[in-house]
């Protein structure tokens, strides 16, 4: 129980920190893009929209900082993230709600594939120490040092522009009606293949290397020797004795590097004009649409936190020690 309480406290703390950073960011910046925008569009902005923008960006200078902070929390708890300046004053929460599923689908699936494939390959290479398969380590390491966006552009140049195998942009064809039918789903998969493949290629190296190194360390342990001396099948030893223990650090580094991975994959959406949060963030940056930028940052942080919680649960399921602590 203690394990879960500690984790819960940590997540609440991180959530609070992210929201507070979001509160202070615009207040630390010099310049005031919002007032300028409101002055230019007098009369077209509704009073409620003005009010929430003022709270978000600290324009209520007549109120104390503490009161501003309280107002800000009130606004967030009511689900109001302000209005997007570049999307015709649509509520930021709606813009994000449209984009979030695409990001979760693309980045989530690609990251999971990369993790599982990379960990499996790493297990194999670690088990077959010194074999020919080791060449994969430098190759995938090289691929993971290549900038995401550059590889993405080259993938488009090769597989889309030159060979014409995959579409270069968007999540589905304009001619296809969105809906829960095979035509639409297959179209989405077709469009998502290239960006997903790029994410997998660039992130595979880290998982392979991490798992290989852990396997090599774990394989020297006495319990592996005992398992082999008992005459267990190699497969059994690899899966249930070696990999099972080697995967634990892999899982916690998965949780902790998610923030980094998600950051990188957002760039892929910009390259592939994929209608997710990354592309929206990019557009918002170009248009200096600060409410949208901040809302996206908050939602990305939240998603990473949720993914972390899931990774924690998987860790607890795989490592009985965390559960034993509970019984004590």
């Amino acid at each position: 129980m203690r394990f879960f309480l500690r984790r819960a406290a940590f997540y609440l703390f991180t959530l609070w920190a992210a929201i507070t950073i979001n509160f202070f960011l615009p207040r630390m910046m010099k310049g005031d893009p919002i007032t300028a925008y409101l002055a230019r569009n007098q009369g077209t902005v509704s009073p409620e929209a003005i009010e929430s923008l003022k709270i978000l960006f600290g324009l209520n200078t007549d109120r104390s900082l503490w009161q501003q902070y309280i107002d800000y929390w009130g606004l967030l708890l009511s689900g109001d993230l302000g209005r997007s300046l570049s999307k015709g004053l649509a509520p930021v929460s709606e813009v994000i709600a449209d984009a979030l599923p695409w990001t979760l689908g693309l980045v989530g699936i690609a990251t999971l594939i990369s993790f599982f494939v990379g960990t499996s390959i790493g297990t194999y290479i670690g088990w077959k120490r010194g074999s020919k398969a080791e060449f994969l380590v430098p190759v995938t390491t090289f691929l993971s040092t290549v900038p995401y966006f550059w590889l993405g552009l080259i993938m488009i140049a090769v597989f889309s522009t030159t060979l014409g195998w995959f579409p270069a942009s968007h999540a589905y064809d304009k001619t296809v009606q969105p809906g829960f039918n095979w035509e639409f789903i297959s179209n989405v998969i077709y469009h998502g293949t290239l960006p997903a493949l790029t994410i997998v290629i660039t992130s595979l190296g880290g998982w392979i290397l991490g798992m290989r190194n852990m396997m090599i360390t774990v394989l020297d342990e006495d319990y592996i020797t005992v398992a082999q001396a008992k005459g267990l099948s190699p497969r059994n030893v690899v899966v249930h004795y070696a990999a099972r223990n080697a995967v634990l650090p892999q899982l916690s580094s998965f949780a902790l590097s998610l923030g980094f991975i998600v950051g990188g994959t957002l760039i892929m959406e910009m390259i592939f004009s994929y209608p997710g949060l990354g592309l929206r963030l990019f557009e918002a940056t170009l248009a200096k649409d600060y409410p949208l930028m901040q809302g996206i940052f908050l939602v990305i942080t939240l998603s990473v936190l949720v993914a972390n919680i899931i990774a924690d649960m998987a860790y607890a399921a795989l490592d009985p020690r965390t559960r034993q602590e509970e019984a004590l």
């Binding site: 940590f10 390491t141 090289f142 040092t145 900038p147 550059w150 020297d220 998600v262 940052f297 924690d312």
Partner: protein
């Protein structure tokens, strides 16, 4: 842990000459030598770039627009006839500067927070650890994009600082774990019992044993900083008139150089990847220095196969110690590093 004897042996102040050769033994590792050579090449390029660049990277030559590599322009020209080789040479300075400055600031932060939170106990330690974890979980790139887009003309020092502030946490986490495991070793307790002052315990007794971890966290921060910085330049958040390899790619993409004008976009991307590879190789070297199992595992397995043992026998035989025993000093190293490297979630 059962490694007490090995540990003491490994960290008793050795004769000065041995210490010296040990601290440079990283140079005997082929991978790190290659990696360091790559880094040295680009560092020199960054320093002498402005003197050896054949052209002014901004010089417009309308006669030679979009020309492929030729004796006059080794890497061809842009849509305005600018020399791409010169842009790459000039751009190296920004990339290396931001990378190393961010790495330096980030490592200093990591050492301060990591070692402190590893050495002290109680609430202070937990708070610092939580702080590092928060910085790990919060996605850095969106935050950096938001911060830098708030500045009209962010200079390289500012970008390096922002990258360091968002990138120190991983190193702090690893250092904390390593410090915690060192804190209770016999030689540190002996130093404490001798009444050595705190700065001496940390600076003289513990820091040398943390050097490998510190070096690897420096390398990691530099890698991340270079990737992020070129990404920022490519996205167009940082000034597009300031040459670095990301800026070159920004122009290549905005002028539709993909896929035909390969000389415009391939070299810049390959340079980034090459520097990244150099850093990764250095890190491999450090890993193998810290964890000798990584160094000898392949050799041992191959040696066994040559003698006709199958893979399944390998572990048993090697563990029994009858074949290819690890040299004594390596064994001591291994024991010293037996402490888990961070990985359990706090």
């Amino acid at each position: 842990m059962s490694a007490a004897t090995g540990t003491i042996e490994a960290v008793t102040p050795a004769p000065r000459s041995k210490r010296f050769s040990e601290s440079f033994s990283i140079l005997r590792n082929g991978k790190s030598v290659v990696g360091l050579s790559i880094l040295a090449f680009f560092t020199v390029l960054a320093i002498i770039g402005p003197w050896i660049a054949p052209y002014d990277p901004n010089a417009i030559d309308l006669e030679a627009r979009n020309s492929p590599p030729s004796p006059a322009h080794w890497l061809g020209t842009t849509h305005m006839g600018q020399d791409i080789l010169s842009q790459i040479i000039i751009g190296a300075r920004d990339v290396m500067f931001v990378g190393f400055v961010a790495g330096f600031i980030g490592t200093v932060l990591a050492v301060l927070v990591g070692v402190t939170s590893g050495y002290i106990k109680g609430a202070g330690s937990e708070t610092l650890s939580a702080l590092a974890n928060v910085f790990l979980v919060i996605p850095g790139l969106p935050l950096i994009i938001i911060i830098t887009s708030n500045f009209d003309d962010p200079n390289m020092m500012l970008i390096a600082t922002v990258l360091a502030i968002t990138g120190w946490a991983w190193g702090a986490r690893v250092l904390r774990a390593q410090t915690m495991s060192l804190r209770n070793r016999d030689f540190v307790q002996a130093a404490r019992a001798n009444g050595e002052p705190l700065w001496r315990i940390i600076g003289v007794e513990m820091l040398p044993n943390l050097m490998a971890v510190i070096a690897s966290s420096f390398v990691g921060t530099v890698t991340a900083a270079i990737l992020t910085q070129t990404t920022l330049a490519f996205v167009g958040v940082t000034p597009i008139s300031q040459w670095n390899w990301g800026t070159i790619l920004f122009w290549a993409q905005s002028q539709n150089a993909f896929p035909d004008r390969w000389w415009w976009y391939l070299p810049a991307g390959l340079c980034i990847a090459l520097v990244g590879m150099g850093l990764a190789l250095v890190n491999f070297g450090i890993d193998e220095y810290v964890n000798p199992r990584l160094r000898s595992a392949g050799k041992r397995a191959r040696a066994l196969r040559k003698r006709g043992f199958t893979q399944a026998d390998a572990t048993v035989v090697a563990a029994a110690g009858s074949i290819a025993p690890v040299p004594a000093d390596e064994a001591a190293d291994a024991l010293e590093d037996d402490a888990p490297r961070v990985e359990t979630s706090a």
